[in-house]
């Protein structure tokens, strides 16, 4: 199929580019930069073909651009790739961020330029592969292969404490994901010996107790990657020590692998277990929102501050996903993209300031707005997106998540929503305080008097980010459309699981979809299509699943 070929091209072109770069002469760094930029731009253009070729309509097949051939047939492992809407969005995020990142790293990688850009291109293939894989082992391979270039990016080109940070990053992530490998093997044993995701999802037969363990193994791997409180401690170190390119990719794409993993693997494969533990996960996510936000107040290092804000933002994504309502899930997917764009943008801008002053300490700055008005403006726009100001993309995501949580059938959802909303409030405070400390007031540090504003290259770096923020804020529909069918399918899967649970326990309170009582505030009660056979209002017993 032609579409399948296109996905394979997008997937392997960066790797091919990396191989070509390996033979280019070492001495000519600019040649490597230009080559990497060229390859990433071609990949982006090719991925536009995926974007426009994707059919988001209801009747379209779930996975498009599919290729399925045996890879290691002796072990039963296939090369099966394809994209659903969410994967498509994340692949687009990856291919769009990559040229920006390469352009941003133009001058920052001074030594071993060749290896730097080879690592970036290798990373791109691995990232796209993680989103495109439809075979569990293939997914695991890409998921783990990411660690190698990222480990080098942080460890070789990072700042002073880089070795500690990169080893922590590698060991933390690797340790969390090995149990997922065992879980994958267990799935293989119990779905008729297939590693294929589509087969596994339909054929997997496990007891609830085992299902919970398997869900736990997957969830642990992804929770570290997200990262969810209290497994987040590798993130501030990795972000702080990584070079700008590493931070942007880490925030923009790598963290999404955790949330994507929940969306694609942990929840659809083990829906019963997901329903059982969603309350716990949502509570932890909500706590993480507030915790991450509060940690931001005490940071003296800009990158560390942005890193903790990531913990908070990803908490929103997880909360929306665990709400298991159409709004929550959609918002969660949208927030993944937003976080990639806005936090990526923040890291880009912090990186630019760092290149000028070689410090990330907030106290070293102050009053920059007079000196570098364009950087200040861009920073403010990205900040608005990060704190979810209406008109920016952040608002759409956070609104959907909070309303989805409010309407959900989590136990006392109002508390989750209310507690989560503190993150929005705190987020506005710490980000605006940061902007004020860095950009406004008087220039106290004489070294800040002669900083140059955007160069042409930097303008090219930041303009697409700003454009995305505005377009995704004002016209979110084109970005929501591809996600819709994926969200609907996941919701239907969770509802089917709920019905199965109800067969075992007829008194089970409704778990998925929106709560008609909560909706009654907004419109007259109606039988929601989302929850089949809802018990009469008020008859729902207070005790829930076990």
């Amino acid at each position: 199929m032609a579409g399948g070929t296109l996905l394979n091209v997008v997937l392997f072109l960066p790797l091919l580019g990396a191989l070509v770069a390996a033979i280019l002469p070492r001495g000519e760094g600019s040649q490597h930069k230009a080559w990497a930029l060229f390859v990433s731009l071609v990949v982006f253009l090719a991925s536009l073909g995926l974007w426009f070729g994707f059919d988001p309509s209801r009747g379209a097949p779930e996975f498009q651009f599919e290729t399925s051939v045996p890879w290691i047939s002796a072990l039963g492992i296939g090369y099966h790739v394809g994209l659903d809407g969410v994967a498509l969005l994340l692949v687009m995020l990856t291919t769009a961020l990559m040229p920006i990142v390469i352009l941003a790293a133009w001058n920052s990688a001074q030594e071993r330029v060749k290896e730097f850009f080879i690592a970036l291109l290798f990373l791109e293939t691995a990232m796209i592969g993680t989103f495109a894989a439809l075979d569990l082992i293939l997914f695991y391979v890409f998921y783990e292969a990411i660690l190698i270039p990222m480990y080098l990016l942080i460890g070789v080109w990072g700042s002073s404490n880089r070795v500690y940070a990169t080893v922590k990053f590698f060991v933390y992530t690797f340790a969390a994901s090995v149990l997922m490998l065992v879980a994958i093997l267990y799935v293989w044993m119990n779905d008729g010996k297939s590693f294929d995701y589509v087969v596994a999802r339909n054929a997997l037969q496990v007891t609830p107790a085992v299902g919970a363990l398997l869900f736990g193994a997957f969830a642990l791997a992804f929770a570290v990657k997200v990262p969810m409180f209290p497994l987040h401690t590798w993130l501030p170190d990795a972000h702080t020590e990584a070079p700008t390119a590493g931070s942007v990719i880490l925030a923009g794409v790598l963290l999404k692998m955790g949330t994507f993993g929940f969306f694609r693997y942990a929840m659809p494969l083990f829906p019963e277990a997901a329903l059982q533990y969603r309350g716990t996960i949502a509570a932890v996510a909500t706590f993480g929102i507030a915790y991450g936000a509060l940690m931001c107040f005490v940071q003296t290092d800009m990158k560390r501050l942005v890193a903790y804000s990531s913990v908070s933002h990803l908490g929103f994504v997880m909360l929306g996903m665990m709400a298991i309502t159409a709004e929550g899930l959609t918002g969660s997917v949208y927030q993944m993209l937003n976080h990639g764009v806005s936090t990526g943008g923040l890291f880009l801008l912090v990186g630019m300031l760092y290149e000028r002053r070689h410090t990330r300490l907030i106290s070293e700055y102050g009053g920059l707005a007079k000196q570098v008005p364009w950087i200040a403006t861009a920073f403010l726009v990205v900040t608005f997106s990060s704190i979810g100001l209406p008109g920016t993309n952040g608002f759409v995501g956070e609104f959907l998540i909070l309303s989805g949580t409010w309407l959900s059938r989590l136990r006392s959802p109002g508390w989750y929503a209310a507690f989560g909303a503190t993150g929005v409030v705190l987020g506005a405070v710490y980000m605006l305080v940061l902007v004020q400390k860095v950009f406004f007031g008087k220039i106290t540090n004489p070294e800040n008097r002669h900083l140059p504003d955007f160069s042409v290259r930097e303008a090219f770096v930041i303009t697409p980010v700003i454009l995305l923020i505005v377009v995704m804020g004002l016209a979110p529909q084109p970005f929501l459309d591809p996600a819709k069918s994926s969200v609907d399918r996941l919701l239907a899967r969770m509802q089917a699981a709920e019905q199965k649970l109800r067969k075992a326990d007829p008194d089970l309170r409704p778990l998925t979809g929106t709560d008609p009582v909560a909706l009654a505030f907004a419109r007259p009660p109606a039988v929601p299509a989302a929850a089949p056979e809802p018990p009469p209002p008020g008859a729902a017993p207070a005790h829930g699943s076990h």
Binding site: P70, S73, A145, L152, F170, V171
Partner: protein, 486 residues
Amino acid sequence: MPSSLDIAALLPFLLLVLGALVLMMSEVFLTSGGRGYQSGLTIAFGVAAAAAVPFAPQRVLFGGQAVSDGFSGFVAVVVCAGLVLSALLGRGWLTVRNMERGEYYALALFGASGMVLLGMATDLLLAFIAIEVMSLAVYSMAAYPRRGQRAPEAAFKYFILGSFASAILLYGSALFYGATGSTLLSSMRGGGGALLAAGLSLVLVGLAFKVAAVPFHAWTPDVYEGAPTPATAFMAAGVKAAAFAFLTRGVLAMVAGTPYAVGSELGGVLGFLAVLTMVVGNLFALPQRNVKRMLAYSSIAHAGYLLVGVVATTSPAARSQGLSAVLVYLAAYAFTVIGAFSVLAVLERRDPNPDVSAGGAWDISRFAGLASRRPWLAFAMAIFMLSLAGVPPTAGFVAKLSIFQSAAAANAWGLAVVGVLTSILGVYYYLRVVVAMYMRPAEVEEPSPAHATVVVAIAVTALVVVVVGFSPEPLAAWARAAVLGM
């Protein structure tokens, strides 16, 4: 009378023996024009022996004492690959130290012939002979540099402990003979009783020593460290492959013939050994600053992972999967570890008096900053380290995956979990080498340029590790075909 088919089945073994004899003679008669050709001759015999494997017919030999089948063929190829690569490494290593002699290659060929024979053995007596041929050659290779004290000390230690293990193996064989009236593995069929159990336990102990399974591993670090690096590489790749081949055959025979496998006693004992070996090997490798010693402990850990595959073969549902997983693992490990030792050999300090440098010759600081001085060498070492750690996309990952998959098929979930958890430790100590190469400034003098043959060895092994990592199908399919009918 041996038929021509018997000869054909034994051809790989015979070629290696012939090669050993030729090399011995060459040292006597043909050294006036230099010794450069000797390694070439060794490689030629190694390649010829490997090339003879596909032509070896499936056949029972020596009245059932040995068998030529796909499994023995696979082991023979792995052993020959180990021989060829370590001869390439030996050529460079020995030449620059002015130690190159024909005996070294003759010993290597004798050792390889013993390994190939061990891969075919289905009889305790023949296995004992094969083990002795292999071991005596390897002891001597370990003692090869006569200057200094470390190598002789290592060899002596290896010899004493190895002989002790051989004696235990022999004692076990005697009890086995007493119980069954034969030394053929197949004579276990229908057997039982305390005498057989005692005999089999002692045989198992002897083999556990050879594969360096905990608690019979204590010799490994000192011997690996003290032996000349090419010999260590050969040991790690070849001895392990051959010993595991016979261990696996023995376990299969026990499963088929004795009541021990039914009540999962056998699986329990082997599983216990596997857990102990994985945990201890990885834990002891953690604090090592001496890279050669770290690789020694890591070889213990890898024996643990291989034992997991052997345990899987005790379950009927997972037998063929376990067998092919063991083969894939042996092949992947052989290439990776020879590559790693080759890089180590390049960086090794060349002191006139090797005792002064002690462990410092392989200290991790010698790797510091390697990536900026020798980017390709560092890149190759990084590949080997990642492969040993089992990170995709390398051969090591494919090997670990197939081992754990076979454990899953055997429902040995505990072993799979312990396996993946201990491999986390592995990531830490293997990455330390990568950290040193890529993220630390150089501390020591520029390493001397690598000998051309060593470069070839490193390039070939690195290429194999990466290619198998990306496209493991040929290797996996070959291993799968090799164990058909076992």
